[in-house]
Symmetry: C2
Subunit: 349 residues, 2 copies
């Protein structure tokens, strides 16, 4: 499939803008045209949020995933930078179908940062890690001068074990597969935005930030060999995640708007902010693309788990050489759900 | 052994200063009094630069190490931020006695950063990774607003495989062991400082930045079961590294100043800057603490490797309940070589 970019990156004169970090089309292009050629290897080229790797002696595969966390503000309803740094990376490991085992953490701290806030965030990390059963086993701390950072950035890396032969990847979706979503969308993005000084608005929305590895384990146990793709729709939201998968697999998708759960308060906040919930980040939801014969069992397994109670089928994978994600709207029409292009919500995770 | 801190951290009112990132006593105290209690687990408490972890199914242990890289400036004689981010983390994995296998990289980029410089640094990473045979298999990119970062920070995490039962750790040094050093000290720190706008001075010193895993493999092959501790003396330099080991193992050390190789240009630059080379960072040297009966074989193996040609024995481990590192000076005296206290060289790696 042809890349969806209008023109190549202007590496000679170009500069990074906020859109390159928003998880949409600009970010994908930066990865494809700058990072992949420079770091070239087949694991990275796979294009998933983590890598499944051979481990000496055979047996389990090693899964490795990393994420930088720069969310602003650092505290928001339902979570904070510390818990998010744990959940985000555990989820990237889990979306490869692996059992997350260990985390590492790199802290880049701005001079002048209050020790009390640092302690609160690191304690929150510790609580999230203990609750998930995935300890932070090694770390590093660097300090940069005042004005050269923004309080605290945390990069976490997770490793996990994946059963031999299992391959759950964005390129495995096939026409006829069903698209499952584990719950309502947009809460994380709205919760963070509600705390921005420039925007502060009243809402009762809390972030859905959560570790999804036990939900994944339940799903895989209920539908072994039938789960083709797992992904958590973070930056760029559900729309961008589905477009990524469609592109990796060389397929189209057909969604039903009416089937996609959105909390009324999220709808209201998005209306106020001029946002489409389809593009708003989640931190505790997953998309599962599953073989049709296992759809009922998979959905039942998701719904039986506390983090998947509102799971639903939101559409199907179809043949489409152009890789379009289309949606039947609530009003009986149909529209293309495109990639997020450029910046929508900077520093949401 | 009692902690070497005069008073506990004032978490309620205290703030991060540059010293907390310099790898000396302030950094150690921050880890001990803030990070360890919050993230509490036995792997982290081990206090090494990486963690050796059980892996399902037995067989090889998993080693995991992480490092944030914030060096300023990003280019220096002998290396750059990209190659340093690869070498630094490979070395942390290798110092556990493991074979490094895979790297992940998290990029935190400041808005406005030139794509051409980003490409140059990522290409340098790729070259260093290919040269070392340790690919960057997964990554993440975040963008922060102009003024909220400093160009580019790279956090890398490395994983490696460690033979079952092997335990090389800072707490394994025993009285009578010999202290080996793989070459001359202080080049990395001096090379980086020579490029600082505020300092810029003329020197021919180049950074020693290098991946040390093949040197470690050669050493372990020559002296199996005799290598107790391996560590690369980065931030805080040789003096701080030896103090850390002395403290972890509950032993003292006795060094011979005349045996510690320092290039004349490094000596001259340190004199100019008022620095002691013992506290200046290295990125391509290792300290090996080895059982006495294997010292000759170990030294010969180091010297036979291109990165260890100037390896030498610089002292011995001795009984000392206070954990002092002492040094016989060139002038026939003796002095205590203390921890780096506070900030000496910020953002050196």
């Amino acid at each position: 499939m042809k890349p969806p970019y209008i023109r190549p990156l202007d590496i000679r004169h170009g500069r990074i803008d906020m859109g390159h970090g928003a998880g949409g089309k600009a970010a994908a292009q930066l990865i494809e045209e700058l990072f992949l050629p420079a770091l070239d290897n087949p694991f990275l080229r796979q294009g998933d949020d983590g890598a499944a790797l051979p481990w000496p002696g055979g047996g389990a595969q090693l899964v490795m995933a990393t994420d930088g966390h720069v969310v602003a503000p650092r505290f928001f309803p339902g979570g904070d930078l510390g818990s998010l740094a744990v959940h985000g990376t555990i989820n990237d490991v889990a979306m490869m179908g692996a059992q997350p085992l260990y985390l590492s953490a790199s802290f880049i701290i701005e001079e002048g940062f209050a020790l009390a806030e640092l302690q609160r965030l690191v304690q929150s990390m510790g609580q999230a890690a203990r609750a998930a059963g995935v300890p932070v086993v090694t770390g590093d701390t660097k300090v940069v001068e005042q004005g050269k950072g923004d309080g605290l950035f945390i990069s976490t890396t997770g490793v996990g074990a994946l059963a031999p032969g299992v391959r759950i990847s964005g390129d495995q979706a096939r026409p006829g597969d069903v698209v499952l979503l584990s719950g309502s969308i947009g809460e994380h993005g709205v919760a963070v935005l509600s705390q921005r000084e420039s925007l502060a608005f009243e809402t009762t929305v809390t972030s859905d930030s959560a570790a999804l590895h036990t939900l994944v384990a339940a799903l895989l146990a209920a539908a072994p060999d039938a789960v083709r793709v797992l992904r958590d729709p973070t930056r760029g939201g559900l729309a961008t995640t589905l477009n990524e998968i469609a592109r990796q697999s060389g397929v189209g998708m057909r969604l039903q708007e009416a089937a996609i759960p959105v909390q009324p308060q999220v709808d209201a906040a998005c209306e106020l902010l001029g946002l489409d919930p389809l593009y708003v980040a989640n931190e505790g939801k997953l998309v599962a693309i599953v073989a049709p014969q296992a759809a009922d069992a998979a959905l039942a397994a998701l719904r039986a788990h506390p983090l998947g109670r509102e799971a639903c089928c939101i559409g199907q994978v179809c043949h489409d050489p152009h890789g379009f994600v289309q949606m039947d709207t609530r009003f009986g029409g149909r529209r293309v759900v495109d990639w997020l292009s450029g910046e929508q919500l900077p520093r949401i995770c």
